[in-house]
Subunit: 284 residues, 4 copies
């Protein structure tokens, strides 16, 4: 329902990742090929890290393809660690507070997919958010709620564990309300150092997720691609849909998996939601 | 913090009430004299009744003074019963879902004022909203929450009782959280037939509220005012701040009062919040 | 590059024409089948006639498919004569002043297509606009300029003649600047009584244009279509792309044609641009 | 009718100049004291230089005081040379293409004031814009037109001469059309190295203009002001209305003057418009 991109590596202008490649993310805002919908025109957001204490976030309700400010900023902001997201709304209002990425302290979070039957499960899930975090929820997007659940379950300490517990709760609450497949999607989160990505759906037919392979190998394959020589050897892109036109450049993340890239070693593991240990206090 | 206007009477073009008078509501968006702030530029909304099942609502995040669409609509939509509101945001985002009036079925609701220390009291108040109504909450404005509390307490059956219980709960929850003066403001609500207005604050220093007197009397006072002869004899305006330049035209609603106008007899009564009968389940 | 719809007949809620049919105009904002692009998400506009001296116009830069205000207005405004337009911008900014329909007095004007190589021809064309009309130009869209050329050439007296002269000038100026095919598109204009539509392109491969046939015949074909029984027998829709799912309901306007519907007899004629009688004072 | 700020010196976060001082520019968007209006809520813009070939420009139609994106960007973008402008529209539409600063190549341009009776003089002035520059005009603001006139008259080679000729033409055309006082305002322009500011009005009662004095002196006066020690000794602020609460910090630019700061020596001179050498070809 949305498309997203995450970059970590040596600093580059945002436009190198957002606009330059063939079938770029901005192009996908009009012509997505792997998404549920070809058009992702219900707003967008970018979040980037620099030497400030928290990442910057720029979000807008305009379609990314015609947002002049995004074009300006992408041509002037360089970052070695950033998220970008284009939205296709399903249900919740098109407003900045519903645009990804969401931020808490140094953390960013974004998602392509949905919490099914949100109206039915929302109240129970909101109740599970830590009370000290609750006032920070600014919008009504299912993803923001998922983020605050993950924060409640310790995202800042152990992201795979926290996301597993958050999605586990979503599934438990969904099941109690008779929702067949409560969760769908790919999720990315970062603290500015490392980036975690998750691919999972209750149905087992998750949205697509790809990451780039070794830069040194890519340089040999595509010696004419300037951008490959601009970025550091440890650079990585994670995307919901491949950009550029580089066969062999993209590795698909398997169904029900999570991975982490950035500073330190990359890892790829199996993702399995953790149901709540005690019965869910469903209120309805 | 905001300014509002409510009209009931024979159908008139919205612009007659919104733009034409000296010191009109639109003028107040730039130059309020009695408001907490002279500028009310954080969006606006109008809600109007016609022969459709539910009232229409047009809301925008632009300042009312320069919104070309509002000017167009006000010059083409006639109604015998409408609300208009200009917003000065305090805390919550400037987005359509936070703009007044709010709507549920045939009901509209708007407010000038605030729920003090919203971040502290919000969760407890949200928990008190009827579960079947909860999914309808679309924004994060304190007023929308107040509206859904009033609906929970029977607004559609007995507005003065429901608003008294809603504000009573706001005060009870606020007190538990150590909020000195939990509620401030004037409130208007309508079902398209009658209009209820409330003036109350925990502190006893409420925002101003006025209504027009008898049209027949006004016609004698101001025979040159065309609009007084366009509207029916039973027409009424209720405003947070007088519009026009007509000394003698406005009656101030007393502190801690409520009134009702529209079809049927007008009434004016004392307003007193009703605290919850049992202890408030404050969670923090 | 855009899609549009024009209705004349007995008054109906705008939503009956804009939202209700299968493959409605709003649906075409996301999924156009005959347009140059499937997505028409760069703003929209509606213009409608009522008993006010001039038509109302509501325009927005948001995609039509997610504009909550359009949905509200379409559900509350009834009109017996209206235009609606969804935009896919090519070059000029996404701003209200570039959204169709454009208005002058009681006239509305909208267009699907373009003036080719606008940057090259614009100055010469602007110089040809009557000086008294020039200050009214508010945006930078090629269509607004075409409208003011047509007004300069007497649109209010003889629309087919004025549009032929305006497009004739566009072609003459274009040719002087070496533009191969200066004009492309379908155009609609109205004074609130009659509606003129034009289909023409310098290349002879014009954008599509359709109008509905006889209502009485359609009622026999589709007795289950309620809307056909709501509207008057003389009702007509003109569209750039058929809406609804009613084979046999639509007549294609032939290449290089114009037609008029509304009060008085319908006409269909051949359209041929009229080149300026004297040499075009090309300045470059 | 607007307020603006220009900074040159060592790089600082934009927020240090836009948000931090008492009576900051953002505060002036709600509470200007010296402006023609207290509210400057009709959009804003910032333009900043970094190591890219052209300056970045971020413009929005929202009031600056509640624009979340401006707050984000100002907290993440550092620059040693930037412009900021808040707008109070008089006549022209509230849209990004009418927001200052305007850009051409490496040049930025902004203005507080107006070209009087724009509708009367616009066509003649547009005709005087160099034909190669004409297609770049994107909006309808009087200031954008003034900028393109100045560019036509050689702004990139000799800013004081070009601005004198541009305003001289505005006065000559205005006089022919019977406009009493054709020009009013303060203007700032820069190429990213030096900043020129102008204070002039046909009436001789120009909008206010101030610049900061010597940083070393200010540091002695205000040793507790951190920002004075963050910036370089050659840092300068030019503003339409003083920010901060530092008596003695601001020098008023005299009526009918121009000045230049930035790399190289500062200069201050008398400003006198240069009327066109030959008669103005007024067309009306």
């Amino acid at each position: 329902m949305c498309r997203w991109l995450a970059y970590t590596g040596s600093p580059i202008l945002l436009e190198r990742a957002l606009y330059s490649p063939a079938h770029s993310l901005i192009d996908q805002s009009l012509h997505s090929e792997l998404g549920a919908e070809p058009t992702n025109g219900d707003g967008f957001g970018v979040g980037w890290y620099d030497d400030q204490p928290a990442p910057g976030v720029f979000r807008s309700v305009e379609p990314a393809w015609n947002d002049q400010n995004l074009r300006e900023l992408a041509g002037h902001i360089s970052s070695g660690h950033f998220f970008a997201h284009i939205r296709a709304a399903i249900g919740s209002a098109v407003q900045q507070t519903n645009c990804h990425p969401f931020r808490h302290g140094r953390w960013l979070f974004m998602h392509n997919g949905y919490l099914a039957e949100l109206a039915q499960v929302k109240r129970d899930l909101v109740l599970a958010v830590d009370e000290s975090l609750y006032p920070e929820i600014k919008g009504q997007a299912d993803t923001e709620l998922l983020f605050y659940l993950a924060l409640t379950f310790g995202l800042e300490d152990d992201p795979p564990e926290a996301v597993a517990r958050a999605i586990g709760l979503v599934e438990a609450v969904g099941e109690k309300h008779g929702v067949k497949y409560p969760f769908q999607g790919t999720v990315a989160t970062t603290d500015g150092e490392r980036m975690w990505a998750f691919r999972y759906s209750s149905e087992g037919k998750s949205r697509s997720l790809f990451f780039t392979g070794n830069v040194a190998t890519l340089r040999k394959l595509y010696p004419e691609q300037e951008v490959l020589f601009e970025v550091s050897e440890d650079a990585r892109l994670i995307v919901s849909e491949p950009i550029g036109n580089l066969p062999g450049a993209w590795n698909e993340v398997p169904e029900s998996s999570w991975g982490v890239v950035g500073r330190g070693d990359d890892q790829l593991g199996t993702f399995k939601p953790k149901p709540p240990s005690k019965a869910v206090p469903v209120t309805a």
